[in-house]
């Protein structure tokens, strides 16, 4: 996340009407204090109707578009607010108010104590009340969106997911230097808030991987140091990327753009199936669930390295046919939904090659996993050497 972005967020938060006299330290503190104070006020009056108002995140596909300036998936949906009152119109509204208040209270405690909690902790504090983990997850994201901050600012963290290994150095905000260049040890993707500077000198490529197994194979063979295509950085979020991993890759991308010569190139290697394509799209353009955040997380310079079905079919021969898997009904439904609703795959969208790939999958009714490259001529490393060098 960039400095200017944080500034925008704070400016926005300060425009909220405020009726308390203490000067809020951050938008998080001010939101929590205001909201809880207002609820207490209402509760102390006999006719009182305590309420919580949440800013809704975009949900409508029709309002999504690719912003030509940011090249991110964004929404044109107007900001809408939903207010849950207690006791409200019915039991459902009363429950919604209750769970929102419970989550907010948990966050308030974490912020006050300065202790990081997980969404899981919140859920297990009262599973009967929340019903599902998803209720908690959605509310945390809604509250962060309402306050205009990212989840880390609420002291709520998902279990760290992303892994990175590569030829880079980080200078932290505390002026510590983390030199990752000669290590093949797993490192969790660092929080971008802690990064002051990334040294990418001599890095030729950054490769984003869908599969953890592929990442591990490459990391353990020191591919990031020994590649014929030069020194590189390997990143995986083990599937769909979380906000933290996306923010880190974006940070690398932003720093790479500041280099005056020999800028590293960014590549994605994902499965040849609808989820692989959607994962790559999440890195490059963003997700539907966080349409309001995508402009700060997207990586416009991401190139599609594979897996491309024509490559697979052409190379399938010596590997025999167990390399190709049939699409499931869910795969086919997902592809049609991607083609018809998401602007990334639209006929006049930014990625005609991605669109045609999805259509080819439908026609051939096949998909392929990245792991099939292990058995290609020369194995995964040589396949990557060829692909990375030919660009």
């Amino acid at each position: 996340m960039t400095e200017s972005h944080l500034d925008d967020m704070e400016a926005e938060a300060f425009e909220l009407p405020t009726n308390i006299t203490t000067i809020p330290q951050t938008p998080v503190h001010s939101y929590i204090q205001e909201t809880l104070a207002a609820i207490l006020d209402e509760m102390s009056s006999p006719e009182g109707q305590p309420s919580i108002t949440l800013r809704q995140r975009g949900k409508k596909f029709a309002s999504l578009f690719i912003n030509p300036q940011t090249q991110a998936l964004e929404t044109s949906e107007m900001q809408t607010y939903t207010t849950y009152r207690w006791p409200g119109r019915d039991g459902n509204e009363a429950w919604r108010f209750t769970v929102a208040l419970r989550v907010l209270a948990a966050i308030a405690e974490a912020v006050q104590e300065g202790l990081v909690i997980s969404k899981r902790d919140i859920y297990y504090s009262d599973p009967a009340c929340f019903g599902t983990q998803r209720t908690v997850d959605t509310l945390v994201d809604d509250l962060a969106h309402t306050m205009g901050v990212d989840r880390a600012a609420l002291y709520v963290e998902a279990a760290a997911k992303g892994l990175v290994v590569g030829y880079y150095r980080i200078i932290t905000r505390m002026d510590a230097v983390v030199d990752a260049r000669f290590s093949n040890q797993d490192t969790l993707v660092p929080r971008t808030q802690d990064i002051h500077e990334v040294d990418l000198a001599d890095v030729a490529w950054v490769l984003v991987l869908e599969k953890e197994a592929v990442y591990r194979r490459l990391a353990s063979s020191n591919y990031h140091i020994r590649s014929a295509a030069g020194k590189g950085i390997l990143v995986t979020a083990k599937g769909y990327p979380d906000l933290n991993t996306r923010a880190f890759v974006r940070k690398l991308f932003d720093h790479s753009r500041q280099l005056t010569h020999k800028r590293p190139q960014f590549y994605a290697l994902v499965d040849g199936d609808p989820d692989g394509m959607a994962i790559m799209a999440t890195y490059k353009y963003g997700s539907v669930a966080f349409a309001h955040e995508n402009r700060n997380l997207n990586v416009p310079g991401l190139h599609w390295l594979g897996l491309k079905i024509p490559d697979v079919v052409a190379g399938a021969d010596p590997l025999e046919d167990n390399t190709l898997i049939r699409l499931t009904k869910r795969d086919r439904k997902k592809i049609v939904a991607m083609l018809s609703r998401n602007p990334i795959w639209a006929a006049d969208g930014p990625e005609p090659e991605w669109r045609i790939e999805l259509q080819r999958l439908l026609i051939l009714n096949v998909k392929a996993e990245t792991e099939i490259l292990y058995d290609m001529e020369g194995g995964l490393s040589q396949w990557l050497d060829r692909k990375l060098s030919s660009r």
């Binding site: 024509p310 079919v313 052409a314 046919d321 049939r326 086919r332 049609v336 083609l339 018809s340 006929a347 005609p352 669109r355 045609i356 259509q359 080819r360 439908l362 026609i363 009714n365």
Partner: protein, 311 residues
């Protein structure tokens, strides 16, 4: 004896993305692609000009387009599962308001074929059903044959309308009699996904091919396999018989196009203008004494070939 077919022109970048299907009439060629438009090119003019673009036909793209014998009707099916019926008047195509497919048509119809007179549409579904609709009586479904449930990748109707053949992902090839509603033959020989089936013009043979890379010829009266044409080194995606039934045309995933003599069971010509997948091949209507064909696929152009005459 080898035959010579000379490249005689092309509609370059007829579509901005892969062309998945071709259909011909006596004067035109229709093409379907990953875009929402169907394109119509003239085959009577040596420059093969674009004569019509049917825009917005299929929002998420189109994978099959078929025509009837005299070119009065065409049917196309899109990735969204929608079936569109078109009629042609004075060389101009428009939505056929008089015809329809029953609204209850399952969304998982994949490949389609149209009868010579254009009245009947046959389709194979993703769960292996073969269905027939009467387009002139509100698209009523008049046949529903069940198979073992393997994805139906391709279908053809014999010119006399008496037989339907379907090819499936598990390698199955079936022939159905439209009169009795029975399945006389389940044809063996292919074990990998079948991508194309085609009846010879007289109905004597059925050709089938796919990921096995060989083309198998069956005798439709006995169900016996009578020949196996090998030579392709990649998946065979499309087959088409010459109007006389003397030659069979095939296109494969590695961009190769082959012409086979049915008499000698040998490949008489190979073209490899592209290394990108060929999705569709079609013989053209005879113009004068000249015979030719068209091919299209991942190189986004339609290529035309004519038989070299004299010599």
């Amino acid at each position: 004896m080898s035959k010579q077919y000379l490249s005689c022109g092309s509609a370059d970048n007829a579509h901005p993305v892969d062309i998945f299907a071709l259909a011909v009439t006596d004067k035109q060629i229709l093409s379907a692609s990953g875009t929402s438009s169907l394109k119509v090119h003239s085959t009577t003019d040596p420059d093969f000009p674009l004569v019509q673009s049917i825009d917005g036909a299929h929002k998420v793209g189109c994978h099959h387009v078929v025509t009837n014998g005299n070119g009065s009707r065409a049917v196309s099916i899109g990735f969204g599962g929608e079936i569109m019926i078109w009629s042609c008047h004075d060389g101009v195509w428009a939505k056929d308001e008089g015809a329809s497919v029953n609204k209850a048509t399952p969304a998982d119809v994949w490949a389609i074929a149209l009868s010579e007179d254009g009245q009947y549409l046959a389709g194979v579904t993703q769960d292996g059903h073969i269905k027939v609709w009467d387009l002139d009586t509100n698209g009523e479904e008049i046949r529903d044959y069940e198979t073992k449930g393997s994805f139906g990748t391709c279908i053809d109707l014999s010119a006399d309308g008496r037989f339907i053949a379907s090819g499936h992902e598990n390698g199955s090839v079936y022939i159905f009699s439209t009169e009795s509603g029975r399945m006389p033959f389940s044809l063996s020989g292919l074990v990998k996904p079948v991508r194309a089936v085609a009846f010879s013009p007289g109905g004597k043979f059925l050709a089938a091919a796919g990921d096995s890379k060989v083309i198998v010829l069956y005798d439709t009266s006995s169900g016996e396999q009578v020949a196996s044409l090998s030579g392709h080194t990649a998946w065979v995606m499309s087959l088409s018989w010459s109007p006389t039934g003397e030659y069979l045309l095939s296109g494969s995933f590695d961009g190769k196009v082959k012409v086979w003599s049915i008499d000698t069971r040998a490949c008489v010509a190979t073209h490899s203008e592209t290394d990108k997948a060929i999705w569709s091949v079609k013989w053209l209507a005879k113009i004068g004494r000249s015979v030719g064909f068209a091919t299209a696929g991942a190189n986004r152009s339609i290529s035309f070939y004519r038989e070299a005459t004299g010599g």
